[in-house]
Amino acid sequence: MTSMWFERSDSGSPKAEAAPTPEDLVAAAARGDEQAFAELYDLTSSRVYGMVLRVVRDPAQAAEVTQDIYLEVWRQSARFDPGKGGVLPWLLMIAHRRAVDRVRSAQSSMVRDDKYALLNTERPFDSVSEQVQTSLEAQRVRRVLEDLTPAQREAVTLAYFGGYTHTEVATLLKVPLGTVKTRIRDGLIRMRDALGVTA
């Protein structure tokens, strides 16, 4: 996997040098640098694959969807606009949309067993915590999620990790759609402010 247009000099250099950022790697990938893309994969694949696995559940399907995602990111790399935010949110946006598309198209060909779905999504947040990550960042996100009201937490996690539409979330929780819309938006805004995330 050698670069087509230039040699990467950092392969043998001491670790003290600043590592390339995901933004650098995407810019290099846009010029056809497969080595840079491999580095981007190494840097981000556990975030992407782990999220996709949570949404689709089946490891074989998760791997398939993850491969599609990275191929799409490679194709779109020249169109990534740093003015609109970082690489990671961009990549995860593509990834989440694909994961959700997968479960929704599977659902349309095979009606989901409600009992099974409820059994498995009743406590989406707690099952996330079983795989608790030790990274400081992950701990911070967890604390912020814990600070939401239980109703907000349930709505956002069913939407994000459950891959449900807000209408489905409302049905699962037996509350009006308007209530779910508000819970999701208010919950996310609270998390955004607590995490200090910028637009």
Binding site: P59, L88, E137, A159, Y160, R192
Partner: protein, 242 residues
Amino acid sequence: MTDDLNVLAGAYALDALDDDERAVFEEHLAGCQECTEEVRGLRNTAAEFSQLSQAGPPPELRAAVLGAVSKTRPLPPLIAGARVLPLRRSRTVALWQGLAAACALVAVVVSAWGLAQHREAQRATNARASVVQSLLAAPDVRATTTALKQGQGTLLSSRSEHRLVLIARGIPVLPTDETYQLWLMSESGAPVSGGVFRPDEHGNVELPASGNLDGVDRMGVSVEPAGGSAQPTLSTVQVIKL
């Protein structure tokens, strides 16, 4: 900003809207700076959730991804401020033909009111019908129909009211990570976005847009990544003359 739609920003950021709701919201997003910024912040927040679900992919996936990548050409970059050239000659039809088409549409839309199952869809339909009706009442309304590569588009426009509606038929449905985008184009200056849109499952489009039409002599329709672009992707642009 429409409060009704603004409340959807959270569900949109979590991909929790169905296709129709998403199309309506993206239409709104293209003209609402406030919502665009909110969506960006909420999407960045949503990305943080993936901190909680990290899991290493199967080792063989790396080789599979990189193998596929080496056989795939990345798309070219979008060129900022580029001139967009007409791909096909457009044909202006007699005004009454356009009016007839638009009136037929209004009739369909209006009769669809009673059948609409969902309040949200009904509200959007309602708004569209009244947009077309009020535009038809403008003294300087013009109708232009152009054959596109696939399907055809009719533009109703009024320069005095700074408004237009794109009505298109037979437009191919795009994958979910892509969207159509309308552009207002003039001889001088870069194309200005007129909003993003997706056809319904029958390939039909009704897109109301507003903006200063002074100097605008053509509209472009391009294919862009979901959410739209700052500049049109040249290779995909098709032009409709005003």
